[in-house]
Amino acid sequence: MTQNELAIPRVGGVDEASKSGVATVATPTGTAFLRRLRNRIRWPQGRRAIGFGKLLRTTAFKLTLVYLTVFALFAASLLGYFAFNTRRLVTEQITRTVNAEITGLTEQYNTGGIRRLVFVVDARARRPGSSLYLVTTFNGEGLAGNVGSLAEGVMNTPGWTETAYRRLDDPEGTEHHALVRVFQLPGGFRLLVGRDLEERERLFDIISAAGQWSVAVVIVLGLAGGFFVARRVLARVDAMTDTTRTIMAGDLSGRLPVAGSDDELDRLAVNLNEMLERIEALMRGFKEVSDNIAHDLKTPLTRLRNRAEEALRMGKQDSDYRAALEGTIEESDELIRTFNALLMIARAESGGASTHMGEFDAADIVRGVGELYDPLADEKGVALRIDAAEAMPLRGNRELVTQALANLVDNAIKYAAWHDVGAREAPPSITVTARSEGDQVLLTVVDNGPGIAQADRGRVVERFVRLEASRSEPGSGLGLSLVSAVAHLHGGELRLEDNAPGLRAVLVLPRAGRQLPTPTD
């Protein structure tokens, strides 16, 4: 079928359509032109200008083609069905009329014989219209009618035939088509009644043409739409690609453009931006660590070296050397501790697959840490209170969470005890609680020590940051950094709040999905 051929979506289809005068596309679409356009994307700077060939290869355009094919096939078959049925309807109408006329004429013949029939047929044949009549004798001699010539043998085959014919009043050589019925009259005469088919064919042609036109329009509009959509998508994807390239080149501060339309590309861009944010933070952390390692490990290393050098230069007896060596070991132990803490923070911060995650009871951790620190608090004259009665399922790294909480308690004891005792009324005390709030578990360590000034709270979680007031206390300045890193690893956070007086440190961690069985002990 012609419709089907048209429905096959080829770029060339546009070309054919434009030849037949349908297309109103502004772009010339010869294959040579296509090739030229396709070549454009091979230009080295062609990334900016969206190439034609590149457009053709986009998912959006390919999808458009698929939809276009489906729609065109659908339109074509619908019109085909319509055309077929119209044709059938017209044919049926012709048959009915012809049958009625034959019945009428047979009656005339039966009542008035051949003479009357010839008379009636003559009269009818003279009327203008598309009706055909012919009466012949048994051996084919014409008696009446308006048929000039017929295809051979038609009169000898009674029944329905579609045949070529010429009317009597037509000039010689013209040819029409008609649907005729040949009827054998009693007495050997033959009667032919028929209708010209021109009307039917014209109707069919009109519908076919309409079908072809509409399919052509569907293709043209579809292709144009496809190009438009592909162009739009491609422009955005290209913008994203450009940004990624600059980011890959080393500028981590770049972010992908977000159009604000909240579509799938926007969501992708937002997610990628979040990923970049994280990478940037990690890289910044990495840089900070290396800077800090350089600074803070160099200081004790220099001290170590100086001590050894001094012992070599000034040492007079064995005990001098011994003292120097013991000091050296102490210093290097301290270095190893700092180094371990740094590694732990780095590991918690990089997080992910390398960290073993399990499910455990947060209240258990609180009780364990409380029990570990109780004698120390006691010795320092600090009242340590633990409040964690009910089981609180938590998903995470048990070891890291324990260490984070231990660091908070350690800090609290240090500062609660360190605070100038004369200056306050209440005796130093610390409360450690585990409490769940919504889908979060809050591990809180509250002290009534000096607290941390609002301005310093953000700073203390950074590595090696030690507030002036505490410089004299032992410690690496890494404790809170580790807590903060552990919180982030678990998708939680470390909140430092004012307890007036004192500090309220809250380690916020996400609750585990399902309830833990109640501990039996």
């Binding site: 371990n340 590694l343 073993h356 364990g368 620190y373 004698p375 070891e399 231990a406 350690d410 404790g479």
Partner: protein, 225 residues
């Protein structure tokens, strides 16, 4: 005591071997996994010290092979990898203890001595006795010189561990790992405070102290007589 050190860092291996010989032990060295395996199968050792990352055959595979061949010599794994998962993997492969680099020799020595005496040690006894101090593991009772001492559950476990290894140095890290099951380093030395509490309960009022601090190493329960 005879020790095999399987370690590819020659300096480190030499240092450990020398130190062990100084305190009166015998130490053999192997520089790679295959040599270590051959030596461990050929000779009788009390403890094997195996580095985790070795040329030719890695430490874990060496341990697995030995255990497959029914060699049950206690093994201490040395490793630069110190995560919980790494330790679990090492112990699951058949190691008996896991020590992360860098370590002090006193820590290594204490752990090796505990490992070596584990076989035929006092693990099966129900009552530990050191001098006039008695600890009943079944009834959870502790008494000294006939009078009962009231201990908290954790203090009991602490004393139990110390008495199980009576006469041997036990480091702070060993206590933290075995009594508390914590594998991290608390900022302040909380163990010292626990020990001094325990000491005040078992040694106070007695002329002969049993719980001793070993400077630069750890603690030891010992009857001085």
């Amino acid at each position: 005591m005879r020790i095999l050190i399987v370690e590819d860092d020659r300096d480190a291996a030499d240092y450990i071997a020398r130190a062990f010989r100084e305190v009166g032990h015998m130490a053999d060295q192997a520089a790679d996994g295959e040599e270590g395996l051959a030596l461990a199968l050929e000779r009788e050792y009390d403890v094997l010290i195996v580095d985790r990352m070795l040329p030719k055959r890695d430490g874990l595979s060496l341990i697995g092979e030995l255990r497959n061949k029914d060699v049950h010599t206690p093994i201490l794994i040395l490793s630069a990898l110190g995560q919980v998962d790494d330790r679990v993997k090492g112990l699951r492969a058949g190691g008996d203890d896991y020590l992360t680099k860098p370590y002090s020799f006193s820590e290594l020595l204490a752990r090796v001595e505990v490992l070596a005496r584990r076989r035929g040690g006092r693990g099966e006894e129900t009552v530990y006795r050191v001098g006039d101090l008695e600890l009943d593991r079944l009834s959870h009772r502790v008494s000294r010189g006939g009078s009962e001492i009231d201990l908290q559950p954790r203090e009991f476990r602490l004393l139990e561990y110390l008495m199980k290894h009576a006469g041997q140095v036990v480091t702070r890290t060993m206590l933290l790992e075995n009594v508390w099951d914590y594998h991290f380093d608390p900022q302040t030395n909380v163990i010292d405070v626990h020990i001094s509490r325990l000491r005040s309960k078992i040694d106070k009022g007695f002329s002969q102290p049993l719980l001793h601090t070993i400077r630069g190493a750890g603690y030891m329960v010992r009857d001085a007589k």
